[in-house]
């Protein structure tokens, strides 16, 4: 792990009304590391991911990505909320892939991929277009550039969503159950794409129930329950030799 971790989360707290969803999450993710987050439903996995790119505002603690405080500004001992413009810039540097794909249905696959780099960053359209075609080839959809998302299979849509996120050249990719909405026979193609990204050295936090993926691809597995990190370690440690009874109970249910 390098000196400054890509993600540095300390004592992250988040509540919705009276419901305390995150009760002090500590997590470091090194550059190029792949961390798989496991945990039962409602344990706060999605909420934590959404805090990392500030889709949710945290109530306590701090999250740094690549050394930069997310969503806030600290100077002279004072902490202030960041301006909208800064927040959107920070989000643009963190890719996110959703369970429900959330492709823009009124745009073709190619338009989906180039929308943000051209519209948000103002990169030249021709250049982005070339990059987009390369990305679509990489996710195995070179021939679908002109299709509308609804005419693609779920697996194809999710791979487009991955290409769309990659087009912004993110420092970090967040995956929130990317295969949970897919038919079983389509899960493999998405996981294979993600494995390719991991091998290329992309830093990734992946929330998933695919234990096989965790075992094969993750550098580290984190088990979350009731808003805290219960256990963290190599896939072998956490999956085969869990130390906490809560992890054991969860694994016995999903394995």
């Amino acid at each position: 792990m390098s000196s400054v971790p890509m993600v540095h989360a300390r004592a992250v707290r988040k509540h919705f009304g009276h419901l305390e969803v995150l009760k002090g999450i500590d997590l470091d993710v090194g550059a190029g590391e792949v961390v798989v987050v496991l945990g039962p439903s409602g344990s706060g996995k999605s909420t934590f991911l959404r805090c990392v790119n500030h889709l949710e505002t945290i109530d306590g603690g701090a999250i740094h990505v690549d050394g930069e405080l997310i969503g806030f500004q600290a100077s002279g001992g004072k902490v202030r909320h960041l301006r909208k413009k800064e927040i959107t810039r920070q989000r643009g540097e963190i890719g996110m892939v959703f369970q429900q794909f959330n492709l823009f249905p009124h745009m073709t696959v190619l338009q989906n991929v180039i929308e943000a780099p051209v519209g948000v960053r103002g990169e030249p359209r021709e250049q982005v277009r070339e990059r987009a075609h390369a990305l679509l080839r990489r996710v195995g959809l070179a021939d679908k550039a002109g299709s509308y998302p609804r005419r693609l299979s779920g697996g194809q849509q999710q791979r487009v969503a991955i290409a769309r996120a990659l087009a912004m050249r993110p420092k970090l990719m967040l995956f929130d159950e990317p295969t949970s909405a897919l038919d079983p026979e389509l899960v493999g193609e998405v996981l294979a794409t993600m494995k390719g990204l991991a091998e290329d050295g992309l830093t990734m936090i992946v929330v998933t129930h695919e234990i096989g993926f965790a075992r094969e691809v993750a550098d580290r597995v984190v088990f979350m329950d009731e808003g805290v990190v219960v256990e963290s370690g190599t896939p072998a440690d956490v999956l085969d030799n869990p130390s906490s009874p809560r992890t054991k109970a969860f694994l016995s249910r999903v394995l």
């Binding site: 790119n53 889709l55 909208k84 413009k85 959107t88 810039r89 920070q90 989000r91 643009g92 540097e93 963190i94 890719g95 996110m96 959703f98 429900q100 959330n102 492709l103 823009f104 249905p105 009124h106 745009m107 073709t108 929308e115 943000a116 519209g119 948000v120 960053r121 509308y148 998302p149 609804r150 005419r151 969503a161 769309r164 996120a165 912004m168």
Partner: protein, 346 residues
């Protein structure tokens, strides 16, 4: 009766193709008993061997009755229109292209377009206000919609026209402070402006609700994905949410335009010469009330038809990507056919 014969023939060919037994040809309907009877003998796995290609169509005698009744009624209507001299078609023909009528149409169209434009712009602002996180904006926009939808347009028109009654002078300046420009209300509010204000501000309230409904029908995941890509709220609204909301906004807006076209006739109360007012002013002189009202209706129908075609084009534009199957409208179909045939010939 000729219609009833064809399905029976189809059934007969199907019968000969599949099983070729006399039982099936003997009956006009599918004849389940005979089919299963022969099937049991020939089919594999205990099930009859059947090919549904060329199956007899279900007959709908009631549809025929309904069609005939409607045709008779339509014929009666046409004959009434043609033979009844009271319609005075010669008068209709004389006035339908009259220059005076043309000016009325121009006023009606102008008013419709401007009032609708005011209504749409206002509607977007009000809808965004009603969906905003700011409670003051939400309340103010809600109040606006409540008032302008809750009072008759006619009253609103008359109020704007008689604004000088309430406010003899209109001033622009710092609220409760110095005034920079002051104008005489009567000179400022012309009948045309009163009409635009009356119709446009009222329309804004209706459009606000239509647009708000459209915006709410877009999956929140869309805004979330846009935010995660680093898009600003404004850009997300313009590029992602609004284009998708348009699918739900366009059809009711089409109805609003047509309502507006006819609502403009209300401005005759403030002496603005739109199509209906022009027609009225003519028949008040000539007493040819019915034929002149027909002239007006003909023109309203012509404009409505054009709007209808325009709407279907806009609808198709915003429907792109909305369904799994490509929308096959008539024009797209025709274009595709043409392209395919040129490909073949070249």
């Amino acid at each position: 009766m000729t219609g009833a014969h064809r399905p029976a023939e189809a059934g007969r060919t199907a019968g000969t193709e599949t099983t070729g037994t006399d039982e099936t040809t003997g009956t006009e309907t599918t004849g389940t008993d005979e089919m299963t009877g022969t099937g049991r003998a020939t089919g594999a796995g205990g099930l009859p061997e059947i090919d549904v290609a060329g199956a007899a169509r279900t007959r709908h005698p009631l549809r025929w009755v309904a069609s005939i009744v409607l045709l008779v009624l339509a014929a009666q209507l046409v004959s009434l229109l043609v033979t009844n001299p009271n319609f005075q078609w010669d008068v209709v023909g004389r006035y339908v292209n009259a220059q005076l009528i043309g000016q009325g149409i121009a006023t009606t169209l102008l008013l419709t377009v401007i009032a609708m434009a005011v209504g749409v712009v206002l509607g977007v602002l009000l809808a965004v206000g009603r969906l905003s996180e700011n409670p003051v904006a939400r309340g103010a926009c809600g109040l606006y919609v409540w008032f302008f939808r809750g009072t008759p347009v006619l009253v609103q028109l008359v109020l704007w026209y008689n604004l000088s009654y309430l406010l003899p002078e209109i001033s622009f300046g710092v609220p409760f402070g110095p005034e920079f420009v002051t104008a005489d209300t009567n000179a400022l509010i012309t009948p045309l402006l009163a009409a635009i204000l009356g119709l446009g501000l009222n329309e804004g309230a209706y459009m606000a609700e239509i647009i708000r409904g459209g915006l709410m029908s877009v999956d929140p995941g869309q805004s979330e994905a846009a935010a995660a890509l680093g898009m600003s709220d404004a850009r997300t609204f313009r590029r992602i949410v609004l284009p998708q909301a348009m699918r739900f906004i366009i059809p009711p807006t089409g109805s609003q335009v047509i309502s507006m076209l006819k609502a403009t006739s209300l401005v005759s109360v403030i002496a603005l010469a739109d199509l209906l007012y022009t027609v009225q002013s003519i028949y008040n002189r000539t007493f040819q009330t019915i034929p002149l009202l027909i002239v007006a209706c003909v023109w309203y129908l012509v404009i409505t038809s054009i709007l209808y075609v325009g709407q279907s084009f806009i609808e198709r534009h915003y429907a792109r990507g909305a369904t799994r199957n490509a929308p096959q409208g008539f024009w797209a179909f025709a274009a595709l056919r043409r392209r395919r045939s040129t490909e073949v010939t070249s």
